[in-house]
Symmetry: C2
Subunit: 258 residues, 2 copies
Amino acid sequence: MLGMAYTDRPNLQRFLDRLTRRSVLTQEEQQAILALPTQAAQVRANRDFVALGERTDHSCLITDGLVGRFDQNAEGARQITALHVPGDMVDLHSVVLPQATSALQALSVATILRIPHSAIRLTTRKYPALAEALWRDCMVDVAITSQWVVNVGRRNARSRIAHLLCEMATRLQADSRIGRMSFSFEVTQAQLADATGLTSVHVNRVLKTLREERIADVGRNEVVIWDWDELVAVGEFDPNYLQAEIKPEERLRIIEPN
Amino acid sequence: MLGMAYTDRPNLQRFLDRLTRRSVLTQEEQQAILALPTQAAQVRANRDFVALGERTDHSCLITDGLVGRFDQNAEGARQITALHVPGDMVDLHSVVLPQATSALQALSVATILRIPHSAIRLTTRKYPALAEALWRDCMVDVAITSQWVVNVGRRNARSRIAHLLCEMATRLQADSRIGRMSFSFEVTQAQLADATGLTSVHVNRVLKTLREERIADVGRNEVVIWDWDELVAVGEFDPNYLQAEIKPEERLRIIEPN
DNA sequence: CGGGAGGTTGACTAGCATCAATATGGGTGG
DNA sequence: CCACCCATATTGATGCTAGTCAACCTCCCG
């Protein structure tokens, strides 16, 4: 068997790709990311792998599956405040704030890599530009969460769901062919309801109309988008907030290489 | 006239207090914060002082008034995704992500101190522990924004408003006397509506019932809370997410002093 | 083949939006 | 100092969106 760190390199590479999409890193800094120690784990669906209030000593990089950040009200009604896709470091913020303010749960079975905070801290201490890049990555999550507030607060059910589908299609870089776009999206309607602040019954009805109008078909494992432009219009989707398409010359670095 | 930096020291001190409430900083690092150059400005009510998509070269520390972070949907319906109070550095995240993903607007007239990104960057480069403290501060904002999603997504009108009042009372450290608690809160009902994802008409009705039931009285300039326990119950408020009461021994520092 | 999770549909209800009219009150100019 | 005006607050009437409750279906898995 190959060493753990070695086999996980492709996954760390995906995380690194995400960082360098927005931040400028030296070769040495990039190597430092790839050299982070990892421990792979399967997490079960519908079971918190980070509980509310828990103190963690590691962050989780998703390599497969879909993970939800759950917050809840006093009655225990859960609201998904963020979805995370492969390549995301779910609880990067726990590096600086180890007490979890949200629970983390896989929506279906998922694979994660645990990376000890201690390793991240050692690395960021040695390479402050990496701390900066990680901070920047967290800030993109904030922008996404803010849009989530708008989605839930100022859009009707149809728009909310359309917006969510647009966001996930963009973040998952959906396959796009003539007149058809699709991506793997393994969620239940109840989970969609938790993400949009609706009930699963109403989600079901909205999905039905989207299907009937040949805009999009949300299945148990896959989403097929028939009319992207219409979906964007319905969801009032403006991808800018995702900061996914930063031109190379606009990538940032505050700290100078030493 | 005294030098600008000198007169603004008390305001920087308030910001520093906020940082040291959660992070451990050396004397030297604290002095570095207090020595940041500032430029005071009055901002008008209901006018964006940071526009959507704008690139900024400074961050804004609020010294007086109330500032809202606004996101909007395509129809221009605005949603407040965060409220900021004196002592908050509103767009700290712009240090690492200069393109604004939200607009900033004073709810009533406000005073802010502009601090150039260049100064913050110089300081954080010299004192990496400060970068860490600032990052941590941003992460607390994230936790607050996440709760905002829950508030808007999973609570009814009455609870939403109660929760918002509880949050602001806590963050503004409301005066508390026997059977009565109050804090200055200069917002219109329309702004409350934008914060809670409701209409101003419905906000008005809910405020009326809260007044009639002698729970809280929300006036144009001030909020008086008659029954804090009841308000907490109605709003399902759990102050934990604000991370306001970190015990001294739990304050954090990753980077060692050099 | 049975059981359970998730999806679908219908009937009814409730909460909040919408529209509209009126009241209030602080600020301004004459 | 008063009259006017605009922004904001208040209230009522009405309708729609989404919630609730409940039954039934479907499909997958053991």
